[in-house]
Symmetry: C2
């Protein structure tokens, strides 16, 4: 089973990578961009009997830093 | 308009970050994981009249390295 874990910074947490991209887009002449935030998308290939609890556990213990990041699990 | 750009390594391109996560998951006792690949998810807030062409252009020129990465544009 393929699982996508979307990890994004919580609102309010500073995102220097996003700001750098925003600045570069403006430098390249792309106007009209008002915000850029960068997150991770982790694609896992797991056994079909992997429980939702195990997936949550992976996110909380390793894939996301829940102090500053949110995560969302998407099963494909 | 909110746009998500999903950037992932092309198949066959080595992903050391994914391998490190895979190894760590096994170390934490999570069996049954057969593959891990790490990509980026860039959330853009752009003007509503931004053309698809401009978005493609942003991806090709800055957001993705098309030699080794694929990208997918998702409008929300």
């Amino acid at each position: 089973m393929k699982v996508l874990v979307h990890v994004s910074l919580k609102p309010g947490v500073l995102d220097p990578q996003g700001r750098a991209i925003h600045h570069s887009l403006e430098g390249l002449g792309f106007g009209g961009v008002s915000d850029v935030r960068v997150g991770r998308e982790i694609a896992l290939e797991v056994a079909d009997d992997t429980s939702d609890e195990a997936l949550e556990d992976m996110c909380r213990r390793l894939l996301a830093n829940t102090v500053i990041e949110n995560y969302r699990i998407e099963k494909l």
